[in-house]
């Protein structure tokens, strides 16, 4: 006997989500590690049979990343340079095995402060699409991620897609991850950046830091300071006062808070250099 539901359509999934408390499941790369049992305890709503939640596609309003898109699919997707950071992050999520199973939607719903996908999606102004039998709504990612392991998803809602608006697809993205070993590592800190450069000057900068606050955070003060700056000076403009106010790092088994604060500044510099158009970085 089991409480394991694997619907084939979104409508059916939404009805099941509305009918009673279920745990939505996709790649299961966070659900299984949370238990030592040989089977997932129900009721599980396994979404992986729903074809409509797959795929990464360009639409009129921007890019739509289906909730079930795996990190491997993100890494291999044909996407403009603004997504280079996201694609790099996709290759850093856990291991190849995890990337083949874990999904973008699951990563966001799990809401780990160290989720590798989040900083990049923040710099891409991503919105999440939430569906329920009551209807569909969209939330900016910062409004969706309300705290460590906390989201704005209602119990009867399912995250169906991540949408990157067309305007955010401009420029060059980059991602830098810091961990104590090469593979399969939870980040000490990571930074995503996206720069739009015109005529040698930064037209727009989007920078986000992960694992240095309860939820990954954009750096508005730094972004404002970078706007209009000569692209070649991007890294030089990064000073601690423009980074620290947005962060609240903690000490844990991976690093202490002071180091995280300092490393975040350095990582921001490196991410900005990588996000420069090639000739500017030289």
């Amino acid at each position: 006997m089991t409480d394991y539901l694997r619907p084939r359509t979104l409508d059916e999934a939404l009805r099941l989500a509305a009918a009673g408390r279920v745990v939505p499941a996709a790649g299961c790369t966070d659900l299984f590690p949370a238990t030592q049992a040989p089977a997932l305890a129900g009721p599980i709503l396994d979404l992986t049979g729903i074809e409509a939640l797959r795929g990464i596609a360009r639409g009129p309003g921007g890019w739509r990343i289906g909730a079930l898109a795996t990190w491997t699919e993100v890494a291999r997707a044909a996407l403009p340079p603004a997504f280079d950071g996201l694609r790099a992050a996709a290759r850093e999520v856990g291991s190849v095995q995890i990337q083949n199973a874990g999904t973008v939607g699951g990563n966001l719903c799990n809401a780990s402060p160290a989720a590798d996908g989040v900083p990049c999606l923040l710099t891409l102004e991503a919105e999440v699409e939430l569906a329920s039998v009551r209807g569909t709504r969209r939330l900016p990612l910062p409004a969706f991620l309300t705290g460590p392991r906390q989201t704005a998803r209602a119990a009867d809602e399912l995250l169906t897609a991540v949408v990157v608006p067309a305007a955010a697809g401009a420029g060059q993205g980059a991602f830098v991850k810091l961990g104590a070993r090469r593979y399969l590592v939870i980040s000490i800190a990571m930074v995503a950046a996206r720069l739009e450069v015109a005529d040698g000057r930064i037209a727009r900068a989007a920078v986000a830091v992960g694992a240095c606050s309860a939820v990954a955070a954009r750096l508005p003060a730094l972004e404002a300071a970078l706007a209009g700056a000569p692209a070649g000076e991007a890294a030089d403009r990064v000073v601690p006062d423009l980074v620290a106010p947005a962060l609240a790092p903690i000490s844990d088994v991976r690093a202490d808070a002071a180091y995280r604060a300092e490393a975040a500044v350095e990582l921001v510099r490196r991410a900005l250099v990588r996000a420069l158009p090639r000739q500017e970085a030289a």
């Binding site: 049992a37 089977a39 997932l40 190849v96 095995q97 083949n100 104590a180 995280r260």
Partner: protein, 917 residues
């Protein structure tokens, strides 16, 4: 929403199968338990180790993270299907390169590699690293695995077997390797007898607490299970590794002293027991203030174990000459305090096994490093005579010292004894990490003095070792460290004192090197201090002070076959090259106009080791039985557990050559306490030396018997052909028809049994004596790159010169070197076990395939007069120099003098800042 199960259909290794199991069940469980495909291993159930990697529609996935429902309708490939899928050459490459040691990660590695090779048949090493990055290996150091994957496209001709008498020294593939790559090797969890009860332990969530049980009988009846507690233990509920110190209960009584200590067992039908919520078990805890630091434990802190008020387990001491006077007169004195962490063995196989009754005999088949000690201690706990306990070691998926101690043997033994049913238990990763032993954390202070010419004049060393609540191997660490803390150097005036202190931390036990790796960090840091202060090249400084034949050790022992000088000499050209390369790199980096404290810097460091093989000044014999059957096979009763290090091959090589017959004629028997004589523990780098010597003596004895039967001299040649032994020399050939000989026992017609116990002398109150009969020697050089702004360290290369006396099997010896280096690198840079906080393999980090640099092993052979054919031990030596060599290289690169291990980025960054002033 609950519906009856309906069968799910999936393809497994090209066959369509229907499975009636819960759709949310881990695919790993379904493959192993429902389909009997136990080649897929489970190491963590969390996606952290990759041992369970299978291919689903060609893509590698962790079977432990895949619900059965998601495999339905898809094609699953497991290690059992590799040959049919065309990957036999990959498996052959693994054997050729020594890429499988214990074999527990091998199926996962093979599957990850197969996915890569399917699209990229000739990968570059970096591509292989990336593809294997999700599978952890604790034995090999990955380099052999990467080499095998990159070489899998080749189809080399089969090697020529060594001629009789020439097995020693040959790069033989391991004799027990085939099942490891086939997925048929049977580890502790792989035997799942029909009808076996599943056993789970109820464990303490507190570091220290008193506890009381509620209504056990009611709870057990309600759930249809049996419950066992300390009250059910028929014998003496105190086991240990050293009889005089036996103090650890199999199940705690009234008080728990560490997180993860077992207080009760639940046994029943697997489906029932696996579904139980043990958090609801009727036990109430009254937490006690835990003692988690040795300093307060020594300074009047609460007594952890009533047996030892004051919390001192034992002390160790070696003293020679007048070190205070020597330091007062020294031209330079260097001083340091170093603090190290608990280090977890992190073998990929959690403890597992099955116990059952065979008549009056309790049989326990579990992973272990010490079958005979398992029998003694389990018999004692269960109140049985030893003759009624039989230990059959399963294949052991890594041990490194921790599987010396009992873990689940008395637990499953108790259930089997009480119920008469087979009882099976598999530790979760969390309970393995919480409840089993660790490397002792140490707080060590030392001062070393040198004269103006760079000769060491004296050394003072003090070390406090956190041994946790129970003795385990704490006494051994306390004894070994003072004997070895000088390093392999001539130190004329010396005093080293250690104390092993009880706390409520994890149990400090045996881990490759027994405390010596910690102490080596202290001594080698100070050697760099002194060399720098005196303006002497750091390698030259060590060569000047290297111990030599005839120069007494700090124990006053005068040795022959001292190989440290040869090891240091072998590094000289590499050292010069590496220093020049680092200098060039750093000049370039400096020239790039970067802000101070920015950029990459390279550095080179060197450190040495020596290590006594076998128990410290205590008997530790091994016995080998060797016979010839009527059919003309050689039967080697080999009681030494091969936990991946290679005893099954090395002991056979030595026996074959001593006997003078081809190794291909040998069949291995055992280990099994009912079949094989005692070869002691796989510990203390003793098997090649001590069991090897017993094998040599047994081979020689059997050879003498054969020669005596034919009246031939020592130089005669022995051959086996057509059921006959043919002995020939200048007088011609004599034949012994084996079938005509009477049975000599154990199914053999000719039989020899020999015991060897190394000659040692007890240590006096000042630690003077002859603690070991044989030592091994080594020196390693690390080249690293430090990111100054982030404090991250990349090890670029390790050159490792080790004197093994005689390299019985260079392929396996190099495997030991690479694996030891990987563990030393982990200890240096990332491994820190914090009880209650890092009980998994994502918070506790061990190196991945991307963290191990190129390793250049250099095997040196300075024969030991006592070792078999000159051989010395190697297994632990290889780990000792790695951490100090890396730390000294970090300092050379960045100025950062690291005194707190591991050198995590934030610690390196802080040390860089401190060095910059």
């Amino acid at each position: 929403m609950t519906a009856p199960l309906s069968p799910l259909s999936l393809g497994v290794n090209g066959r369509r199968v229907e499975v009636l199991a819960a759709p949310g069940r881990r695919l790993s469980e379904v493959l192993r338990a429902d389909l009997g495909l136990t080649g897929t291993k489970v190491g963590c159930d969390a996606g952290d180790c990759g041992a369970c990697t299978v291919l689903i529609d060609g893509a590698p996935r962790c079977a432990c993270l895949t619900p059965l429902a998601q495999a339905a309708g898809r094609e699953v490939l497991t290690v059992e299907g590799l040959d049919a899928a065309g990957f036999a050459p990959l498996k052959a490459a693994f054997l050729r390169h020594g890429a499988a040691q214990c074999g527990i990660c091998t199926p996962g590695m093979l599957m990850a590699a197969a996915a890569l090779l399917a699209t990229n048949p000739r990968p570059a090493p970096a591509e292989a690293e990336a593809a294997l990055g999700g599978v952890l290996c604790r034995c090999t150091g990955y380099r052999a695995i990467i080499a095998a994957v990159c070489d899998a496209h080749r189809r080399p001709l089969p090697g020529i077997p060594p001629a009789p008498g020439r097995a020693v020294g040959a790069r033989l593939e391991r004799l027990d390797g085939r099942p490891k790559v086939d997925g048929t090797e049977s580890f502790g969890a792989d035997l799942i007898p029909e009808g076996a009860l599943l056993v789970r332990a109820v464990r303490s969530p507190h570091h220290a607490a008193r506890f009381a049980f509620g209504d056990l009988a009611g709870w057990a009846a309600r759930h249809g299970v049996r419950v066992f507690t300390a009250a059910d233990i028929p014998g003496r509920n105190a086991f240990g590794t050293i009889p005089a110190f036996a103090d650890q209960p199999a199940l705690a009584e009234r008080e728990v002293r560490l997180r993860g200590e077992a207080v009760a067992l639940v046994a029943g039908e697997p489906a029932v027991v696996e579904a139980l919520d043990l958090a609801a078990f009727p036990v109430t805890w009254e937490p006690l203030e835990p003692v988690l630091d040795p300093a307060p434990a020594l300074a009047g802190g609460r007594t952890v174990l009533p047996l030892r008020p004051g919390n001192v387990l034992t002390r160790g001491r070696v003293a020679r000459g007048d070190p205070e006077a020597a330091l007062a007169a020294a031209a330079r004195v260097a001083e340091v305090e170093v603090v190290t962490s608990f280090v977890e063995h992190a073998y990929i196989e959690p403890e597992a096994g099955v116990a059952w009754m065979e008549g009056e005999t309790l049989v326990i088949r579990a992973c272990t490093q010490a079958p005979v000690m398992d029998r003694e201690e389990t018999a004692k706990v269960l109140g049985l005579p030893e003759a009624r306990v039989r230990i059959i070691p399963s294949a052991t998926g890594g041990g490194f010292g921790s599987k010396l101690d009992l873990s689940l043997q008395p637990l499953i033994g108790l259930v089997a004894l009480k119920t008469g049913r087979p009882a099976r238990m598999v530790y979760t990763r969390a309970e393995s990490m919480a409840s089993t032993t660790k490397r002792h954390p140490a707080r060590m202070r030392a001062r070393i003095g040198a004269d103006a010419g760079g000769r060491i004049t004296g050394m003072l060393f003090e070390g406090v070792f956190d041994t946790g609540p129970y003795a385990s191997w704490g006494p051994t660490v306390a004894t070994r460290v003072p004997v070895h803390a000088s390093g392999p150097y001539a130190v004329p005036a010396y005093r080293a004192e250690t104390v092993a202190v009880h706390t409520n931390g994890a149990i400090g036990g045996a881990f490759r090197g027994f405390g010596v790796p910690q102490a080596a960090v202290v001594q080698e840091t100070l050697f760099d201090d002194l060399a720098l202060a005196l303006g002497i090249d750091r390698l030259e400084f060590r060569r000047r002070n290297a111990l030599r034949d005839g120069v007494p050790t700090v124990c006053g022992q005068v040795l022959r076959g001292v190989g440290i000088g040869a090891c240091l000499d072998a590094l000289v050209p590499h050292w010069r090259r590496a220093l020049a390369e680092a200098e060039r790199f750093n000049a370039q980096a400096q020239a790039q106009a970067q802000a101070p404290g920015q950029g990459l810097r390279r550095g080179v460091g060197v450190a040495s080791c020596w290590y006594g093989c076998g128990n410290t000044a205590l008997p530790n014999p091994s016995t080998i039985r060797l016979g010839i059957t009527r059919e003309g096979r050689i039967r080697l009763h080999q009681g030494a557990t091969d936990i991946g290090q290679g005893a099954n091959t090395v002991i056979a090589q030595i026996a074959a050559d001593a006997l003078g017959l081809p190794i291909s004629r040998i069949d291995l028997v055992g280990p099994d306490t009912a079949l094989t004589p005692d070869c002691g523990k796989t510990s203390a780098s003793r098997q090649t030396f001590i069991t090897g010597k017993a094998a040599m003596l047994a081979g020689q004895a059997l050879r003498r018997q054969i020669l005596a039967l034919t009246n031939r001299g020592e130089a005669a040649r022995i051959e086996l052909e057509d059921g006959c032994l043919v002995v020939s020399d200048g007088q011609g050939a004599a034949r012994i028809r084996l079938a005509a000989l009477p049975e000599a026992g154990h199914g053999c017609v000719l039989l020899a049994e020999e015991t060897y116990d190394p000659p040692t002398e007890p240590l006096d109150a000042d630690g003077q004596g002859a603690p070991y009969a044989v030592y091994g020697w080594g020196a390693q050089m690390a080249e690293v790159e430090v990111d100054l702004a982030l404090g991250t360290v990349r090890v670029l290369r390790i050159t490792a010169a080790h004197d093994v006396g005689r390299a019985v099997n260079p392929l396996l010896a190099e495997g030991q070197i690479e694996g030891g280096i990987a563990q030393g690198l982990g200890m240096a840079l990332m491994e820190e076990f914090l009880p209650g906080r890092t009980e998994n393999l994502h918070d506790y980090l061990i190196p991945t395939a991307g963290d191990i640099p190129e390793i250049r092993p250099i095997l040196l052979e300075v024969p030991d007069p006592e070792g078999p054919m000159g051989a010395k031990g190697l297994g632990e030596h290889v780990l000792i120099p790695t951490a100090p060599a890396i730390l000294n290289a970090i300092r050379h690169a960045s100025g950062a003098r690291i005194t707190r291990l591991p050198a995590l980025p934030h610690r390196v960054r802080a040390a860089i800042r401190e060095a910059a002033g």
